[in-house]
Amino acid sequence: MRLRLTAGMVKDEAIDRVETLSGQSILACYQCGRCSAGCPVVEEMDIIPSEVIRLLQLGQIDEVLSSKTIWTCASCLQCASRCPKGVEFSSICDALRAIVLRIRLATPKVDADGLTKVMMSDAPQMGVVGALRKLNG
């Protein structure tokens, strides 16, 4: 598939919003891939973290917002901790989820049924609270 790039696309304000919300500079990423290399859940992602950033560099925000990746991230901060350029993919991920959740692009990840099941089991409260905050907004 050919991607026809335009200045408007790469300077899209949606990308600005990701930068502001995450506090990260998208163009600082030099695509070394280290974030992806160390991510514990990368196997479950449809787009690996470094490619998510690359797509943002290319202005492809929609593709990224509809990815599975942003819901898979466990916020372990390994990517941010090892990035040679100080880019925190974990924060970018949070920002992308926030965008989706705030404009209700997707239904909340943790559904009521799932939640009761978990509540019934013995998962620590913090896990439930954490999941709700990260994945349901």
Partner: protein, 653 residues
Amino acid sequence: MEERIGVFVCHCGTNIAGVVDVKRVAEELADYPGVAYSTDYTYMCSDPGQNLVKDAIKKHNLTGVIVAACSPTLHEATFRRAGMTAGMNQYQVEIANIREQCSWVHQGDKEAATSKAIRTIKVMIEKARLDEALEPISVPMTPRALVVGGGIAGIQAALDVANAGHEVILVEKSASIGGHMAQLSETFPTLDCSQCIMTPKMVEVAQHPKIRLMTYSEVDDVSGYVGNFKVKIRKKAAYVNRDVCTGCGLCVEKCPAKTPSEFDEQLADRKAIYTPFPQAVPNKPVLDAEHCTYFLKDGKCGICAKVCPLDCIDYEQKDEFIEEEVGAIIVATGYDLYPIENLGEYGGGKYADVITSLQFERMLSASGPTGGEVLRPSDGEVPSEVVFLTCCGSRDTENHLPYCSKICCMYLTKHAMLYRHKVHDGQAYVFYMDVRTGGKGYEEFYTRAAEEDDVLYIRGKVSKIFEEDGRVMVWGVDTLSGRKIEIAADMAVLGLATVPNEAAAKLASMLKIHTDEWGFLSEAHPKLRPVESLTPGFYLAGSAQGPKDIPESVAQASAAASKVAALFAETEYHREPVIAVIDEDTCAGCRVCISVCPYDAAEFDDEKKVARIKEAICEGCGACIAACPSGSAQQKNLTDEQLYKMVSAALEV
């Protein structure tokens, strides 16, 4: 005499004129008191530009010249020379910096930049108004060079200066010259054996009648200035009378005490009394007291002294200090590898089979600890899969060092290639971000590795290395395919960043030469004066100035040597005459100036009861002048009066 000052405003193409309204500047200044001529021109430093200045000096009978252009560090000398050819005293030519400190830094505000340019020029006009005609102070030149560091750069520089007919003292802190190049196996891009091309040069140094080689020595103190440095060199106690020693090696053979060898990068042991490697120059041992039984256990042992046929061992030997005079100093203190301990994500040095690039180099070397065989340090097996990692600590602004170490892409390519030559069915992987091959024949070398030697290049940075089931697990990524990659390898080689030699920082601060924030020596100008320090008399060679491979180190060493030879071509050195003077009539004889002068350049005249400046020594720092309570001490061409007027001009509205 009434001043007649000429003002020449440079456009520097659009560098200045794009921001500063040069026409307006030239026009406004034409009316400034004392200005007899004012003009502007596209490129003042070009031939026509310089001619413009020269012609104006003659035509308008100028008494002072202001060139408003780039920083004085760039072209002050150029325009002073031009002034001289037109018959003007060079110290009456001044530069007003309206580029580096004006047009380039105020690009957004043309009006303010223009007004700042005008004030900047007025400051210099006020100075020039009172500038006296001065003559450079000439001091005798000691045509002898000191070279610090005996790696390939220091060796080459020493040989070139010596071959130009001047004496050289080469000081090396370790027991032999050779530096890191002596540790290398074969060298890119031609794969010639490092020892083979290096040894003859080392021998030449040792035998050169003009070179005084001082190994196991360090520079302890330097004073003076270009042409007339006094250096104090400390010859460290070797506990061996190396003048008498024949290098028979008996002592080394019999010594019972062992410690890991620095030369072999800890992969093998050396004795407490040792020569670092078989081809060492000088090939005579030194005794390392820190690991010697005799020193550690109060006189127990003493075997070396017993076996030495020439009674060379002297446990009482002390450090010896030698003072020498030299006219120029070449610093070639080289590099080290970034410590592996800093890379915790790769094990930080705790896994035996994750090794540094220099360790691998020793392993590849025919004279190395494995006799040139590639063997896993943990079990001595031949590794069938080896992973090479680029940029270990380099290009990492966040956790390590921001710069590119320049040589590692090439040496890792060499490593992968040599590994494949030695282990024919072995698999080599190189994780890379970019393969940087900016040298003659380098890209071809890399292509050969990939195409002919089947080295697999994987584009991505490794995140973690750990040991699992006796293998080295590498977690990487291939950004080209978007796959996370896991390799269970037998060995991993880290292309660690190059950093300045640890000992270089101390030396640089003693010599008062600048370093960049990472500790590499700073050159006087990044493009036009790459082998000189800003401080006159100091020259830079090799990887002490920045990461470099051998060809570049050698080229820079030869360049530094030619600079030194040019310096020594004159029998006298001319020093700036902008030094202190004391007005005998007003001096109260309080001796404050004498007490503050860091160079002992102020002395007391017992007869006249006043202070006096020793012209040959005064550096013109101005400390005495600021301290003198009676205002009797002044700086030539930067007198208090000049400074007051300059300050006033800076504040004109």
